[in-house]
Assembly symmetry: C2
Homo-oligomer: 102 residues x 2
Amino acid sequence: MTYQSTLAALSDPMRRTILERIVEAPRSVGEIAQDLPISRPAVSQHLKVLKDAELVREERAGTRRIYRADGAALGELRAYIDEMWKAALGSFSEAAAREGQD
Amino acid sequence: MTYQSTLAALSDPMRRTILERIVEAPRSVGEIAQDLPISRPAVSQHLKVLKDAELVREERAGTRRIYRADGAALGELRAYIDEMWKAALGSFSEAAAREGQD
DNA sequence: ACGTACGGTAAGCTATAACTAACATAAGTC
DNA sequence: GACTTATGTTAGTTATAGCTTACCGTACGT
């Protein structure tokens, strides 16, 4: 159930946008906030959620803080989704087979 | 951006529990509600969300409705997570390499 | 030491998600 | 056609997520 925080973090579109920027390249809070239609504190709050979910790591550089993507949490979520995906496909192909047979 | 509804649906723990049951085997609403600590209408509402997200298909059988897992939406989400995961690993290994080099 | 830049924190507001209880609907049963 | 079973729908409540504004802390430059 480690992926609870991961899924909760990713369910917000603004947070996904932020994470996508960070994944593309490590960035400071200011850089991230610059292009977004929300205030800098709002970005800070989103970053806290991402950091708590371990989707992102904070790295201090003087007065700035650089945020960098962390793959571990995504890896766990990936495994979970993958498992369910395979199981769901099985359920679906069963249904297809049954329909074809009738 | 098709995975917005998928992620929103999966972000709720109760909904994940419900989906996991359905993935394990197709079930009726009553069967699902039986083991859960929430009311049957609540289950119905969760199922609506799962159905709207196309994580689940409804199949009528007399007065009952059987819910079955649908792999398509999970597949799309899987691809998205996978892409980000790879990119995040890249970002992380860069950092590791940089640390090793210093 | 003072000023400035960068960013986290707190308080307060608003929208919405998740739940229950009560009602509505639809399909089999006699 | 009334009765029952199985499920969706509506109304109303409560908790919480996400936002903004205002404030606080910390590091660097002079």
